[in-house]
């Protein structure tokens, strides 16, 4: 089934990137029948407006699929913050990064973030799982971080381990999240802005994205 019309539709609705991945291997238990992952990204940081925009895009995808007789399950952008809903129990069975790598939209960087060649780690993601047999894009299976270790060197808490992601080793520890979190906690104590975000801004792929924008005159 051709996925282009869906992608066109979602881009018209405001998605920066749309990809379709074959996620069969990443599925367990209650969701094994939903073996296509639609990865949606918008080019902005994750705030309440971004969440709203992504949820709107997910609705658009759901409706498009439903009209054609297929089922879908949306994993919301802020799935870890959704409490008190029964369906939230299933959200953690699947990660946005898996959908994105399977859809060929990027790899998981040394900083543990999904990195897209053009936009770097500056995208916000949402996923729609579906049973529609959409033609999948080819996945990204290896990291393109290469020898770059800017995020490793600049991380103020020393949380970035420097390990390199590969689809063959999905559980490799890239970031020591305990350390990352403890920095946040400390910063809160001193009433600074808790979020650090250095690993996002320092990434050369982020800056490449910026200069792209500058070149196109936006």
């Amino acid at each position: 089934m051709n996925a282009e019309p869906l992608k066109e539709h979602l881009k018209k609705e405001g998605a920066t990137l749309v990809g379709v991945g074959d996620v069969t291997k990443a599925l367990t238990g209650e969701i094994v029948h939903l073996n296509r992952g639609i990865a949606l990204a918008v080019n902005r940081s994750l705030g309440s407006e971004t969440v709203e925009q992504l949820v709107k895009l997910q609705r658009a995808a759901e409706i498009w699929l439903k009209e054609r007789g297929f089922r879908s399950l949306s994993i919301p952008p802020d799935s870890d913050r959704i409490k008190g809903k029964l369906i939230a129990r299933l959200y953690k069975l699947f990660s946005h990064k898996t959908a994105a790598t399977c859809s060929g939209l990027g790899w998981i960087g040394k900083n543990g973030l999904l990195i897209n060649k053009r936009y770097g780690p500056k995208l916000s993601w949402a996923t729609v799982l579906t049973n529609a047999p959409l033609k999948p894009d080819s996945p990204v299976t290896e990291s393109l971080c290469g020898n770059c270790d800017l995020c490793v060197r600049h991380c103020p808490s020393g949380a970035v381990t420097g390990s390199i992601w590969s689809r063959r080793e999905p559980f490799k520890k890239l970031v020591n999240y305990e350390r990352c979190r403890s920095l946040k906690t400390n910063r809160r104590l001193f009433e600074e802005k808790p979020n650090c975000g250095l690993c996002v801004t320092i990434c050369p792929y982020s800056r490449k994205g910026l200069s792209n924008k500058a070149r196109s005159g936006k």
Binding site: E30, I31, L86, I87, R89
Partner: protein, 229 residues
């Protein structure tokens, strides 16, 4: 009282909101029901629960899977949250309290949550102990709350073996308490052997059992209403 056509339309909307797992529709319709002066109990049973009955059927027919069931349940709760405060306590002689939880060592609680929902709907006071609940906690909670019903759930054989201990302890202290067990490894035979009063095999069966129970309550209510007329 709202006129019949309007009432039918609102009930249909509640029902479809659940079936289509559309939370916004359920909320909207629940508010419309209140604004139109519909009886909240009626809106719940003939609207929301009627939708869930259809969902149970779709699940059995394998048209719906677990994600859909959960989304339908969330939609039902969205409507229930609005209607519940306006409910008259159902006077059908089966009012009660229930202690429910997934036993120690088990974190699978989808079936438990669906059963809990139907108890919520039926107007029971539900003491939900959550998942991975220490065995003694069930006994304590039952004594503390004097609940008529205790529901034990497990999905793994290894955690199921804790069930007879709980049943024995509760029956020893409070022989009148009813105990229901449920989950994939349980069976009618085991329930009988351990002295449990009822059992539901898995999430779908638990939902079916609970729907059956609520439908039964509804029938009782209707019969009572008919007698009064």
């Amino acid at each position: 009282m709202a006129d019949e056509a309007k009432k039918k339309e609102i009930l249909e909307k509640l029902r479809n909101g659940v079936i289509q797992y559309d939370e916004d529709t359920c909320k909207e319709a629940a508010q419309e029901a209140l604004d139109a002066g519909l009886d909240a109990n009626e809106a719940i049973f003939d609207g929301l629960v009627s939708g869930m009955e259809e969902v149970g059927r779709l699940f059995e027919a394998q048209e719906y899977f677990v994600p859909e069931i959960l989304m339908c349940a969330d939609a039902l709760y969205a409507g229930l949250d609005i209607l519940k405060p306006h409910c008259k306590q159902m006077d059908i002689g089966v009012k009660g309290a229930v202690v429910i939880g997934t036993v120690e060592g088990d974190v699978h609680d989808i079936g438990k949550n669906l059963v809990k929902m139907m108890f919520d709907v039926a107007g029971f006071t539900v003491y939900d102990l959550g998942r991975d609940v220490p065995l003694d906690k069930f006994v304590e909670e039952q004594l503390k709350t004097d609940s008529e019903l205790v529901c034990l759930s497990a999905m793994m054989t290894t955690s199921m073996v804790g069930m007879p201990k709980v049943i024995e302890k509760i029956k020893e202290k409070n022989p009148n308490c009813m105990i229901m067990i449920g989950g994939a490894p349980t069976s009618k035979e085991l329930a009988d052997k351990w002295g449990a009063d009822g059992y539901a095999e898995d999430a779908s069966n638990a939902l079916k059992e609970a729907i059956k129970m609520v439908s039964f309550l509804k029938k009782l209510r209707d019969e009572k209403a008919a007698r009064q007329q």
